[in-house]
């Protein structure tokens, strides 16, 4: 039973991370109809910013709590800034281009960012400090759940709720929904579409940055390539749940996390990806729009 629980919570942790990153994919898709393939790279950059800031502050001898808070905020801030810039540089000039062009531009952006970090940080794995201290109350359960995992799960839950409220109840959230339904009409009602799209990129990227620093602190090492794998998995989660849908991204992330965790635990860790992508194929055969996705007919 403990083993099952461990796998369950491990899957929940993974799933929360996938969900955090998948939100960025799904928000951008919802507003722009674009798959932002550079999103995984933003996550990787968030992790590196976390590493640099926490290393710097540790040398200065700051208390651990201050380091965690500031490193996390800086990671989110930088990730947001990167997201904003990526959109301005790579997507906004192509707003009216054929659909394929921004997609190619996204892939180019992704390769560029990987190589930029490769040059700046080398290809070696860098050790990442454990930012989250061991909680004493978790000591008796340490064979089931680590304190980092608990923090990841809590962070994901809080973020998801906050995002849901943002989309549902605020002015900017309403503008996002309006744009995703009819961009031209939103413009004709005086919504500054460029600003809302920028905001979407900033929010989605900041979440990826948060995911980056959380995972890095959990896994303990990072390099320039982690964004690619995480990006692919999170994209899978977004498609699984129904791309464009925020609850879908969360659900897709969790399902993917659990599938991987149980497959690793009960079958073999060699087949982790086989199960993950096998599930994707299986679900898309029966629900091509994803679990919570809406089947949309093309407008004439």
């Amino acid at each position: 039973m403990d083993y099952f629980l461990e796998l369950f919570l491990g899957g929940l942790t993974r799933g929360s991370i996938y969900a955090l990153i998948a939100l960025g994919y799904t928000m951008v898709y919802g507003v722009l109809g674009l798959i932002n393939f550079a999103h995984g790279e933003v996550y990787m950059i968030g992790a590196f910013v976390g590493l640099i800031v926490s290393g710097f502050l540790t040398v200065l001898g700051w208390p651990i709590l201050a380091i965690v808070v500031i490193a996390t905020m800086m990671a989110m801030l930088f990730a947001g800034a990167y997201g904003f810039t990526i959109e301005k540089v790579a997507y906004q000039p192509l707003r009216h281009a054929p659909r394929l062009s921004p997609l190619i531009s996204a892939i180019g952006m992704s390769i560029f960012l990987q190589n930029y970090v490769l040059l700046a940080q080398s290809s070696d794995f860098q050790a990442f400090p454990q930012l989250v201290p061991e909680f004493e109350f978790l000591e008796p359960y340490s064979h089931i759940i680590l304190s980092t995992e608990l923090v990841i799960i809590l962070a994901a839950v809080v973020t998801l709720i906050a995002l849901f409220l943002l989309i549902k109840f605020t002015k900017i959230g309403k503008a996002m929904r309006a744009i995703s339904q009819d961009r031209q009409m939103a413009m004709l009602l005086g919504v500054n579409v460029d600003n809302v799209i920028s905001a979407t990129f900033i929010i989605g990227s900041a979440l990826a940055g948060l995911g980056g620093i959380l995972v890095a602190s959990h896994v303990g090492q990072i390099n320039f390539y982690i964004g690619f794998i995480a990006g692919i998995k999170a994209f899978t989660a977004a498609v699984l749940g129904g791309i464009g849908s925020i609850p879908g991204a969360a659900l897709g992330g969790l399902i993917l996390g659990w599938t991987e965790s149980f497959a690793t635990g009960y079958v073999s860790s060699d087949y982790e990806d086989v199960f993950a992508f096998g599930l994707l194929v299986f679900i898309l055969v029966f629900r091509p729009a994803g679990i919570l996705g809406k089947v949309s007919s093309e407008k004439v």
């Binding site: 002015k171 309403k174 309006a178 413009m187 004709l188 005086g190 905001a199």
Partner: protein
């Protein structure tokens, strides 16, 4: 009376096709003006040029909000033109189908409020007061168009005629001085058209807006318009009061075709 919209020699080419050919049009404050013409005459293209969806190939569009100097608006983005005070509806209804009736109207207020992203997230006192105001104002508009009891319905669940009313309410929410209506009576039965006639006259009085409409229902056009502009094949062929237009030879030719007996 002050001229609030002055279109001069407007021209729009699509490749080799001239959809609008040197058209002049003007609207004075408080007027209801109709733009009519056979199918494909370029009426909707004309609207699209004025509201910033298309960038006109030639000519100028000047607007002058009441008590302001005229300014040139061609080449501006649709959201900037909306901020300047022009609002429109579409021939085919374009509501945000999956948002509530109230939310649809609230979106119209978007450009008239000042809350930024951070404000939305942290919701200070001022932001909440502003939101309260937007909601109250939206309810007030919905009452005026008779839709307040449906405020929390999804827009797609309203009956057709009410969706049209909601579109007009949403356009009014942007606080325009000129309202552009693209075939507001399309798909309505005679009773609904009659109500629309009263509704348009009523919003002109109460909201202090001028109206430019495209319409094919001639009874509606003749009964509510102060002046009428007629276009055919992208060219303006007539303008004048309803009585003048009804007896204008060019217009009759455009609609009924030429008499070939005399030829």
């Amino acid at each position: 009376m002050q001229t609030i919209l002055d279109v001069k020699q407007l021209t729009m080419d699509f490749g080799g096709l001239r959809a609008i050919d040197h058209v002049d049009l003007d609207i004075k404050q408080g007027e209801i003006v109709a733009l009519i013409g056979p199918n494909g005459a370029g009426k909707t293209t004309f609207f699209n040029c004025i509201t910033g969806i298309y960038k006109p190939t030639g000519g100028d569009v000047f607007i002058a909000p009441p008590d302001e100097k005229p300014k040139r608006i061609n080449g501006k983005k649709p959201n900037q033109i909306t901020v300047a005070g022009l609002a429109r509806t579409f021939q085919n209804i374009r509501l945000f189908a999956n948002m509530t009736v109230l939310e649809n109207v609230m979106i119209g207020q978007h450009c008239r409020t000042h809350t930024g992203i951070l404000g939305s997230i942290f919701k200070g006192k001022g932001v909440r007061a502003e939101e309260r105001r937007v909601i109250d104002y939206s309810h007030m508009l919905l009452k005026k168009v008779g839709l307040d009891q449906y405020a929390h319905y999804l827009a797609k669940n309203l009956p057709y005629a009410n969706q049209r009313r909601l579109e007009i309410a949403r356009a009014l929410a942007t606080d325009p001085f000129l309202l552009l209506l693209d075939e507001p009576a399309a798909g309505m039965n005679p009773q609904e058209t009659l109500e629309l006639d009263q509704f348009i006259t009523q919003i002109r009085e109460e909201e202090n807006v001028s109206i430019l409409l495209i319409e094919h229902d001639m009874r509606l056009v003749m009964s509510i318009s102060d002046r009428i502009f007629v276009v055919d094949y992208g060219k303006k062929i007539a303008q004048g009061t309803p009585a003048e237009i009804q007896n204008n030879e060019n217009v009759i030719k455009a609609y009924l075709g030429e008499d070939i007996d005399d030829a």
